[in-house]
Every structure is written in C-alpha cells, then in structure tokens.
Symmetry: C2
Subunit: 245 residues, 2 copies
C-alpha cells in the first residue's frame, strides 16, 4: 500500500465544488470514479482545499492509498486519459503514508480576477468576474494592507460554516491592474470559508468609493459577517498556488 | 435608414463559425435573430471575417441597415442584454451607407496560441491548442519571416475553397513564448481560408524539427496545399485586431 499525491487543475464552472455531495457532480466524485476504474480498487481521495461551486484551481492537492503497480509518476498520464477536459492532473508522486494534506502546514495562493471594462468579453467570462463600474485600484491596494498579518477574520467568514477559531495568518494581499484586468492575490497559511471572495467583495466596495481603506480596521474588529462587503461571485476565484512547508 | 457597424467579440467553441448555414448555430444567425427581435425589423448583418467553426474573435465587424430610433452608440447595450454570454458587442456606431466591411482596405491581426506543457491545463483548453512536444521557438521565428511580404499563399489555403487570386500581403508574423504559452501573431491585409491555421501547423512542424525554416521558401513556391504542414486546430485561433485603413 502506498500513498499518492496528485496535483489537480480544474475549471470549476460545471461542478458543485470539490467535495462529494448527494446532488450534482463534484471534482472529488469525478476523481474517485476515474481512479476506481483505472486502478480497479475502491479509491477515495482526501482533498487539500475544498473549493466552492464554480471556483477554479491550477494546483489543488489530493491524496489516496493504492496497491497499484503503476509507477507513481505515471499515474498522472493514465488518469488524464480518463478525466474530462475540465479536470487534469498536473503531476503525481508517492508521499509518506502519514501525509494528510489538511493536517500539515501549507501556504496557499488565491487569485480573484475582475474583468473591468465597458462591455463583457466572452473569452474572460469563465475565469473573471465582469464589472463595468470604475475602481480606484490605489484605494484597493491601501485597504488590502489591513488584511496582512494575523487577524480574527470572523467578519470575512461565511455564516454557513461553524469553525471555532477564525484567526488566520495572511502573509500578503496585493491588488494589481493590467489593462482591463484587476487581480487580487492573497497568500496565506489558511483561509476561512468564502474568505477570499468576501475580501474581494469588500475591496471592490473600497474601489468604488463605498468604503474607505481604513474601514477595514473597523470591519475586522466587528467580528460580524454583516460588517463586510458582499461575497464576490465564484467564477473570479482561482487557487493558483499550493506549497507544503 | 442608417447603417450601423458593430464590433463583435465571441467565444467560437459552441458555434459552427460565423456564417449562416442550414445546420447548427452560427454567430451570424444569433446576431440576426437578436437584432430582429430587438429592432422589430428583419435584420441581416454583413460580416467582415467569416471565421471558421470553433475560432474566436475579440473584434469581428458586422454592419446592418435599420430604421430604429435607438441611438447608434446605445445599440451595443440593448443588444448585449439579448445576446448569450459567449457573444458580446464591444461597440456600435453609425457608418456611411456605402460602407461594406469586406470591400474596403483593412488590416487584421490573428493570434494562434499553443499551450505547451507536460499536461493540459483546463483553463487554457478553450483558447489554446494543447501540445506537450518541445518546440524550438527560435526556429519558428526564423521560419515566420518567410511569410512576411506579398506572396502567393496557395500552399497555405484550404482546398475546400475556390479563390482566383491567392496572393496576399502579410505585414508581420511573430512568434513569442511566455512561460507555457507560444503565440503566433500574424498581421495582414487579408487572409485565405484556413491560412493562419495552416501557417501555424507548418510553423509547429519547424519547431519540432520536422521542417527547416528555409523550407518555407520551397513550400510557398510549390503553390500546393500538400506541400505545407497540417491545419492547426481551430480552438487556438483568435481574431484579435481589425483596423479599417
């Protein structure tokens, strides 16, 4: 028996998120089905980031145990041949049998993309949130700095979830504009449910002038979801980096 | 009666190309249907580039005549409200009643994108051709120079079409690699049917070492489609620029 780690890229548009659920196809259920068919063993993967419905990833992590004789590095090719075009493995390797992707220190990078132009652009629609209102990116940059460091992010956590500890360490949040694209990049040791999308929705309010950059202090201190801005749409969010420390 | 010019962006993935045809939805047929419903007049657009099935555009051009009182600049908003997410107008304005987009001098830019990595990336699959083989981009750059200038491009024209004059003026062909993406950008006064895709397929053969850059001279001189490389897949091609001179 060996434990295999997969790096998984997907376009989340047509999935009900990562995690297996009774209704609707998920990334996890497709992986389990294709691995079970390939290896002729009942496989259940353990995912690192349980991304939401519609969220994308370049490099989510899944591990599973198998008795297969297929060399670990070759599994990615064999599995890709069975996976649909919107889920593709970017690499596979053997890891220690004790390795659990949610029980070890990691650094994740998320990017939230806004396509900001007068008219929506079809080729951007799946991977960026379209908005035609003007944003002051300098204000958004200033506001983003308030998120850096260790804070209680309870105001930036969906009320649909129950976690005891809402303190998280965010290493870096940057906002950049390049032509019609605004990208919010957040790097941290862990994120709460919907945290990046609520941060993005709040930064957009700052960019539009509905909130001041220094309001971020008050919103963090409130520890109340209703103090922050709206949850930005899922399509704009992509998990772009995953590093085990 | 006034003549209106639309700048049309689309994701060609789900369409049988620009031009109306008996089977399958086309960009043109969707525009005609939405304009007819919006303006309550029978509208038939005239397109500038009749792009192939699966090819994308940021800025194709369509003109039509109408008696509407909607201000020309506002038509883009009204029409976008009726169009599907994969076809969106990027601007509308009134033009001279004699303006015909295929009977006037223009400069078009096409980009052919190759996603060149070990594994396919889901978020690239719709707008780039995936290839895992190594390409020598310097060789491709050298080969691309042979296309610049005025040449008989008969070897780079699909045999499915019948045009008398296969001489075209190509201003510029450049090949660039940025991380995993190779982009072939061709700028010219006009292109034959499948010309950019055959140029891309031939440049890929050069990049793989199956042809030499100087073979381009021989292939052009042959005036025979079978002398050139394969037609590269449609998904990699996007019409990115349109300028009337």
């Amino acid at each position: 028996m060996k434990r295999i780690m997969l790096t998984v890229a997907y376009d989340g548009t047509n999935y009900h998120g990562w995690q297996r659920q009774p209704n609707g196809e998920t990334i996890e259920s497709v992986l389990n089905r294709c691995l079970t068919a390939l290896l002729r063993e009942e496989i259940e993967v353990i995912g690192a980031s349980r991304t939401d419905s519609g969220v994308h990833a370049l490099c989510n992590i899944a591990v599973f145990d198998t008795n297969t004789n297929i060399p670990p590095e070759k599994l990615s090719y064999a599995l890709n041949a069975r996976l649909p075009a919107d889920i593709k493995i970017q690499g596979s390797k053997e890891v220690d049998a004790s390795f659990h992707p949610r029980h070890c220190d990691s650094r994740k990078t998320y990017e939230y993309r806004i396509y900001n132009a007068e008219f929506p652009m079809p080729a951007e629609r799946l991977y960026a949130h379209f908005s035609y209102v003007p944003y002051d990116v300098e204000r958004m940059k200033k506001a983003a700095r308030y998120f850096e460091g260790t804070h209680d992010f309870k105001s930036f956590c969906s009320t649909d979830t129950h976690v005891e500890n809402t303190v998280r360490q965010i290493e870096h949040v940057e906002v950049n504009k390049n032509e019609n694209k605004i990208v919010i990049r957040a790097v941290g040791r862990g994120f709460l449910y919907n945290m990046v999308r609520i941060m993005a929705g709040t930064l957009m309010e700052v960019g539009r002038g509905n909130l001041e950059p220094q309001d971020m202090e008050r919103i963090l201190a409130a520890k109340d979801r209703s103090a922050a801005g709206p949850t930005a749409p899922a399509c704009g969010l992509t998990l772009t980096g995953y590093e085990f420390l």
